[in-house]
């Protein structure tokens, strides 16, 4: 086997892996029950599938200028994919798209509860249970 044949074989494998991840994300998008589960499926080709495709390109075009461009592309994707996933997940949680029963651990609910308690305390100090004496003292 010559060098070119091995490179072509590797390129084919990487291309098929990347396309398979896209296909798996599509199946997950159709089959999964709620928005968060669908988001979990679609993040697979966003990073790993793209890495496979970019590796295939880099194997075929072995020049520094191309590889530099591919690394930049991957960096951009790695920076921006979490931003959109975070915003969509937060919006989904707030509008009730996420079924509460589907979450085993819900740390955001505890954090929201804590924040609301602090807000109530700040706005109405006399509503606190331990400040009952302060309500009677002016009389």
């Amino acid at each position: 086997m010559s060098f070119d044949v091995i490179i072509d074989l590797l390129t084919s494998v990487f291309l098929i892996l990347g396309a398979f991840l896209s296909l798996a994300a599509g199946v997950g998008l159709i089959r999964f029950p709620d928005a968060i589960a669908r988001m979990h499926a679609t993040t697979k080709p966003q990073i790993l599938g793209l890495i496979f495709i970019l590796t295939a390109i880099a194997l075929q075009e072995r020049r520094w200028s191309t590889i530099l461009m591919l690394v930049t592309l991957l960096l951009f994707q790695m920076m921006t994919a979490p931003i959109s996933a975070h915003m969509i997940g937060r919006a989904g949680y707030r509008t009730g798209v996420v079924a509460p029963g589907s979450l085993l651990v819900d740390e955001l609910a505890q954090a929201i509860e804590r924040a609301q308690d602090e807000q109530v305390d700040a706005e109405h100090p006399d509503l606190r249970a331990d400040s009952g004496e302060r309500n009677e003292s002016p009389d």
Partner: protein, 88 residues
């Protein structure tokens, strides 16, 4: 390189794009549609890359770069709109 590799890759990417389109049309909430359109955009980036390997050129690299850099803006805007208005 073998032609059937690109046939398989093209069929897989087309099927993925078709499923994303199905979810965009069907999706019960705006967020499902945004997730599906994100996924459609990722599939388009992958398809541009596969096409560059097939025709052995690098002309689409700039388009891939711009798509990867700006793909998040749409979903961020829609997510902000959804959480402001409480719209489902």
């Amino acid at each position: 390189m073998n032609g059937w590799v690109f046939l398989v890759v093209g069929l897989m990417l087309t099927a993925a794009a078709g499923m994303a389109l199905f979810r965009i049309a069907r999706g019960p909430s705006i967020l499902d549609r945004m997730i599906a359109s994100d996924m459609l955009l990722t599939t388009i980036i992958c398809a541009l890359g596969a096409e560059m390997v097939y025709n052995s050129h690098t002309r689409s690299l700039a388009a891939m770069l711009v798509l990867a850099a700006t793909a998040f803006l749409g979903s961020v805007v829609v997510a902000r709109y959804v959480s402001r208005s409480g719209h489902k």
